[in-house]
Symmetry: C2
Subunit: 379 residues, 2 copies
């Protein structure tokens, strides 16, 4: 059966143009960027060019970028390293309740080590209220972490406003941009973040490579040690082909961003408008307009989400309930609980995330199949 | 100019057959192995097959393997996680003085946190004396770390003997097998290690993927947290194409290991025999027979190693002094100091590491160019 992919937020296919760009860096130009000879220097050169490409598109300087294995590593790096470095300065962290687990889990570890955590409540549409951050800050606060956009419900946070508050209070600010880089404009200056984290595979690059932006002048220790790569911030042989792929992927995203945003917004809005027209007892989750162009998220009354996923899958439709990272665990999502959903609604949810290869016809098919499926499953 | 690569220990080209095996997993079969739909399950299936392949070739069970970004991450993971987990049990670590920095640097961090470290001296040929380990062990020892073979001088350690001592004393044992997996037989049962670390790019796989073997029943905490991937031992979207590449690479290595070992040993021995015949004032570093088939390492009296590298590079010969990971820092290598070399000899060193595409003709060329170059540079 021909499969239709509606889970771009979990991972995206690597764009064939990205694969083409990467391929020479496996065999012909395979050097270790730390090697002292010409093959090594060639690798280093292309690695630095890739860094400059990424930097340019997010409004950063190349020296502010370190390549790593992805956003999970980036988030672990920032949170664990900062906490250990600054523990004598303060032991308080402010974080939104709807962060990705790669932010929440390190923070929960720190809580066990004695850190005090303020989990910011969010509004029903998933928005963090910046005023709540102002209230939460103490003279012991060392870090604020609020994601740019929710991987589950797609809500885009007022990051620039939060960045301003962080700066005014001289507190470091991490925003996880894993769902936004390549999809909507991301400029570190405008966001006012000290750290941003990203993974190439979310924007049509390869898996296994990502980056951490560290604002110039910000002091942080490496998380992986044992080599002076990445300006001593991340030891380990650099993934040159991966970095080339990441750079090509961001370049492609930027060059077609306006078109992709408007096409995806159109498709997304068909879902947000037509699904409630065709199916009763449905709730749209997330903000209606401050929302990723590629995310639609629903809860269906009296429908078991896991059965819904399975039934859609049998019809060739690949979708999800929320984060792929916890797909194994069928507890209600912490994000859906945070926006006030009952367990029943949280467990009856469906995330449709679209991307570069989504077509109007695929949306038509979903809009035909989904109502039938919900009807069959509804208790 | 046609370049000749003699730096396989730093990194190897990805075998074209590996690239071919990986390629479908970028675009056509691109799923997130944690996704709950058929595209995700297909990704999970191939990921698990890759894990089984690796496990089979190192004598492990699939459930004992976690994929990660490479050996640096694996070494950091084991050392930091174990130390923090076991700090109430003991605060003593035994480590060889010639480990890779990705082992030494985490241990140096722990020393600052109050851990006691015994650095095992090595003999002139780079061998660790297992009796020294017996003497070093105390009731506070929580970890022994000795690499399988030196990345610099190629000496292969008596790991099975060390593993036996570790087991008898109920102490966990890490061996960094980054230079041996795929090159010489590596069997976790025979080695008696509780942890082994490896990177695919050292055995003709891609950069950015590696693995950590954790013996069944051994308790260790994850180092990257925030998702239940890799049996909760390593959070982050799994690099499926990378794992497929790693598995294909090890499969190829195993299928041609005997031939490659004997051909490389022959070429290596030409170097070990003929270089001292053609050049005076040269010392072979590392053990003559307990040695990686692909490693030859020399020190030249009254020659500046950096100038030698540069001059060889100008003649199209890509080689190194030692570890690529510290190639930027021209301090004498800690390994060469540990085997008793003077600073002068340590700084006058040359590592020639060969591999799958090395030919007799390339060795001929080196054997012609090297004597001329040393003669020109000698002060």
């Amino acid at each position: 059966m021909k499969k239709i992919y509606f889970d771009y937020a979990a991972t995206a296919p690597t764009d064939p143009r990205v694969i083409e760009a990467m391929t020479p860096y496996f065999f012909e130009k395979f050097g270790n960027a730390s090697s002292p000879h010409s093959i090594g220097r060639d690798a280093q050169k292309v690695l630095e060019e890739s860094r400059e490409t990424l930097a340019r598109f997010i409004g950063a300087k190349a020296e502010e970028i370190i390549f790593n294995s992805g956003a999970t590593e980036a988030n672990n790096h920032v949170i664990f390293s900062l906490a250990r470095r600054l523990k004598d300065k303060g032991n308080h962290i402010v974080v939104s309740a709807i962060e990705h687990h790669s932010v929440l889990a390190p923070i929960e570890h720190l809580a066990k080590e004695g850190f005090k955590i303020t989990y910011l409540k969010v509004l029903g549409d998933g928005l963090v209220d910046p005023q709540e951050i102002k209230k939460a800050i103490t003279d012991k606060t060392i870090l604020i972490a609020v994601m740019h956009a929710s991987n589950e419900i797609g809500t885009i946070q007022p990051i620039a406003e939060i960045g301003k508050i962080a700066k005014e209070n001289n507190i470091l600010f991490l925003t996880d941009t894993v769902q936004t880089v390549g999809h909507i404009p991301v400029n570190v200056g405008e966001l006012g973040a000290d750290f941003i984290s990203l993974s190439a595979h979310k924007f049509y690059g390869p898996k296994g490579i990502g980056a951490l932006y560290i604002r110039k002048g910000t002091k942080i220790d490496p998380y992986l040690v044992g080599g002076d790569q990445e300006k001593n911030q991340r030891a380990g042989t650099q993934n040159v082909a991966g970095a080339v792929g990441l750079a090509k992927a961001i370049e492609l995203c930027q060059s077609q961003m306006n078109d992709e945003m408007s096409f995806q917004t159109k498709l997304r809005d068909r879902l947000l408008i037509e699904i409630p027209q065709r199916i009763g007892g449905v709730k749209i989750n997330g903000h209606l307009t401050k929302r990723l162009p590629n995310n639609a998220h629903f809860s269906f009354e009296k429908v078991d989400g896991e059965s819904l996923l399975l039934a859609l899958d049998m019809n060739g439709i690949c979708s999800s309930m929320g984060s792929a990272c916890t797909a194994g665990a069928m507890a209600p999502s912490h994000v859906l609980k945070a926006i006030g959903l009952s367990d029943e609604l949280a467990l009856g949810s469906l995330r449709i995330t679209i991307g570069r290869w989504t077509t109007d016809e695929q949306i038509d098919y979903l809009l035909t199949k989904l109502p039938e499926t919900v009807k069959t499953l509804r208790i």
